[in-house]
Amino acid sequence: MEMTVKAEVRESVGKNAARRLRREGKLPAILYGSKTKNISLVLSKQDMFSILKSGRGENTIFKVAFDSKKKNVMIKDYQLDVITDELLHVDLIEIAMTESIEVTVQIVLTGEAVGVKSEGGFVDFVNREAQVRCLPRDIPDQIEVDISGLHLNQSLKLGDIQPPENVEFITDPKTVIAHIILPEEEEIEVEEEIEEELIAEGEEPEVIGEERGEAGEEKEEKKEEEEKKE
């Protein structure tokens, strides 16, 4: 069943008004779409939490009710505070249920690869998401991929995965999803490290656009002589 979220239209915009709203426990948001003008809204944080924590997460389609209107929307983007993880703002996009849309879906790996079990490798999960095109009702919660057949130095590409029904991958099929690799060896030769450090401290990087070589040195010498005369 589709969820309905109550919202209010807000007329006050800008960081001061948004901060005042956040202090009251509300969440500033904006609604836009190809056929609607931008509308600034106020939402309840709890409603957004329940949507973001649901199985489909950001790709959940729900109804937003304001001013006796109801619109099918989904979360296009959201901002979090990098330190406190506080939800700061949400962008909602209006969805036409009959038109296909492009969304990002999470990829989940299942099974233990042979390369990990018996060959000493580990799974390098390179791309955790894939872009898909489908109708809003067909958006998958996640794409599960079985990697139990992967050996060491083998990789799984997006082209190897069968997309769910009525879903089309947009991401390049050559994109590597995961591969089984051996860990890199850490060089722990302390003496060598110290020597490297000493060399590095004396070095200076090349300056782009600066003349090097004899011509440059001559100029520097001339400058020094002029300074001494002064």
Binding site: L52, D85, E86, D124, F125, P183, I188, E197, E203, I208
Partner: protein, 140 residues
């Protein structure tokens, strides 16, 4: 130690460290990460010390990403030199770290091991940090 191979200018102004990290604050590569909670100038030596601490603890496990790079030259005047006569020579390299910046990321190890590795790296850094994982993020 890390340092740029080419620079446009040998010396830079000191600048300010206001605000939080705008970019580089989320986990982009690995499952686990070490996130800065304070601003600082992180030197190439400190970044390298953290890397070595993680590498020695993990030995032949996992994969490490260093998400910071010392782009900024810091100059220093020699000792017992009078003031004036221009800016000093570049002495070392730093990266300007703002709160929220991801410093290291790890993949291919268990959470318990990643936590300990990051704790050891944290000991080498001049600021408070926190351990983050993709599963642990709780919205507030």
């Amino acid at each position: 130690m890390l340092m740029p191979s080419k620079v446009k200018h040998r010396k830079q102004h000191r600048g300010r460290m206001k605000g939080k990290a705008i970019r580089g604050g989320s986990l982009s590569f690995g499952q686990f990460g070490l996130q800065a909670l304070e601003p600082c100038w992180m030197t190439a030596r400190q970044i390298e010390a953290g890397r070595v601490a993680i590498g020695r603890f993990l030995r032949k496990k996992g994969k490490l990403w260093i998400r910071v790079f010392p782009w900024k030259p810091v100059t220093k005047k020699p000792t017992e030199v009078r003031m004036g006569k221009g800016k000093g020579d570049p002495e070392f390299w730093v990266d300007v770290i703002k709160p929220g910046r991801m410093i290291y990321e790890l993949e291919g190890v268990e959470e318990k091991i990643a936590k300990e590795a990051m704790r050891r790296a944290d000991n080498k850094l001049p600021i408070k940090t926190r351990f983050v994982s993709r599963d642990s993020r709780e919205l507030k």
